[in-house]
Symmetry: C2
Subunit: 342 residues, 2 copies
């Protein structure tokens, strides 16, 4: 039986930042989603998917699996969620969880899952045999493209997925390489690099590009994480950068955003795009120089004419091709990547 | 009873890189070390400490605690070590372990430890309540100085310890902030930031500078880790940098070293010092600009005249004060830090 998801997004389904797992799955696995659970919006729909108020209300729709669709900062469970998860398990739903807290470590939930014969899958649980990077990444015979960004939650995963799709439609042996829980749900493999032991970040990224090649990829689109100047997540960003040894970078930015969001103690201004391009290129390993091939702008907050103007401005500032691949298609950015390298 | 260490360094006691935990403890807690265990050098001495071939040979010297003094890449235990640890426990020694593999997770060793009434202390086990950084680091009312470096294992911890000692001798309320297992053994507190969940690196660093202030520090010397362009460990380096929010950096370099060591797939050349200064300053958070205050050179491989020439060359290249604080004293670099800021 194929997976049919109930997305758990209690209290968060309308929030563009904290609901990003839900949004990603809705966009790329829409056909496998039967309902969204959010009691604050019960009876509404989201992208045509019914929003329900309780687990029991979702059951007639035939879900097989409850997916934790909320990515709270630090990955902790709000206490009220434990009740919700208990009800999912009691109703014989498997649970996929992308948070840093592992459901299978909870004795009560594990016991209940065993009793009901359901599986608790902790997507962020790292492979047990992970270790430090070895240098095998530099031997991967593929063009490696990493999305990087001016902030978190601005669409790096989406850009990687859209560019991969466009490349595959052109007949290229292209593979999306998932590095976070949402990408893993969408692609069905991967490692959440933000959840590994800190010393093993580059090792995890290395393993992912090696596996991307083994899966047939000649063009690998590595899902980026965080941002180089993000006060909270920059370590993951740089470890992923160096461990995935990209030849090319796609710099993602939300048009109009001037400050990093969700970090305390600020203000945390975002530097100009041309400085970000330079900073990223200078931080490449000498053993694997990397260039920024193009700029992916997220223009969701703008009108179409404003979006076109923002794209033109980004091109003028950086001298690189720019576009919003979600809004205007991925052709231009894929062209830019293919023209750039490796 | 105070701790009396038997340093376990089987096969590694003569190796300057892999024996760095041992060397740090010998330098800064010499009086608490009764013996070194390394069967390949039994009967010799190291810094005046007897080297023994077996645990049993060390017992007449009265150790209370065996310390794993080897930092292998990736932190795994060589299999032969398990036997050695079993013998330590059987002989009623506590064990302190700085590797990524936790002794207390081993059912057999744990059972044996319980039976013998000894403690297994895994120094790299992160605090259970760690999470992401909050911004509280920016409120720490102290001058924060982080050591950074052109490579691993070139003496960042030693430089932090020497500069802290010099500052305390001048009557400054100065505190060394340990971020790795050796620093933790020396100072008796800290978090091994390379062992936390990757998303929590900056959170761990933040907690450490907050605690450094709580311990009375008005001048905090944060022990650096890794290197920004290290293919394996750079993620930890940047997360520690952004999470500890230093006002000032001390750039550490081994004179004459031109390549990063211990990383596969190279060559991995080290950029010129002036480029490293610039790269580090550009990577500071906009909310906490940081300047490199001075250069700490490790000149152990050079003659005294060569060392003086290397120091002069580093000053000429960077325009910053430089010295080898281990060889020539920490006065000059502490002067440079006090003159620089915050």
């Amino acid at each position: 039986m194929s997976t049919r998801y109930l997305l758990l997004a209690e209290g968060f389904s309308g929030d563009p930042h904290y609901g990003k797992t839900m949004r990603g799955v809705l966009r790329y696995r829409r056909d496998d989603v039967v309902a969204i659970l959010d009691s604050t919006r019960a009876g509404e729909t989201e992208d045509g998917v019914p929003v329900v108020g309780t687990v029991e209300d979702a059951l007639p729709l035939g879900p097989t699996t409850a997916l934790v669709g909320v990515a709270t900062q630090g990955g902790r469970f709000p206490p009220a969620w434990i009740d919700l998860l208990r009800r999912c398990i009691a109703n014989r739903l498997d649970v996929e969880n992308g948070l840093h807290v592992f459901l299978s470590d909870d004795p009560e939930l594990s016991a209940l899952a065993a009793e009901r014969g359901v599986e608790l899958r902790d997507l962020r649980r790292p492979p047990a045999d992970l270790s430090t990077a070895t240098g095998a990444n530099l031997d991967v015979d593929a063009t490696i493209v990493l999305t990087v960004g001016s902030d978190c939650a601005i669409g790096k995963m989406t850009v990687s997925l859209e560019l991969d799709l466009e490349a595959r439609q052109r007949g290229i042996e292209s593979v999306f390489v998932p590095t976070g829980q949402t990408g893993m749900v969408i692609a069905g493999w991967g490692i959440a690099v933000d959840a590994v032991v800190a010393d093993f970040i580059a090792g995890a990224a290395e393993r992912l590009v090696v596996e991307g090649r083994e899966r047939g990829g000649e063009l690998l689109w590595v899902e980026g994480q965080g941002s180089l100047l993000h006060p909270v997540y920059s370590g993951v960003t740089l470890g992923l950068y160096h461990g995935s040894v990209p030849h090319l970078l796609v710099l993602c930015h939300e048009a109009g955003r001037t400050e990093i969001e969700g970090a305390g103690g600020g203000p945390h201004p975002i530097p100009p795009l041309r400085e970000l391009v330079d900073l990223h290129e200078r931080l490449a390993l000498p053993a694997r120089p990397a260039r920024v091939a193009c700029i992916a702008l997220n223009t969701r907050a703008l009108s179409e004419s404003e979006a076109r103007a923002a794209i033109a401005a980004a091109e003028a500032e950086t001298g690189l091709p720019a576009d919003d691949p979600v809004r205007f298609g991925a052709e231009k950015l894929v062209d830019a990547v293919l023209a750039a390298g490796p």
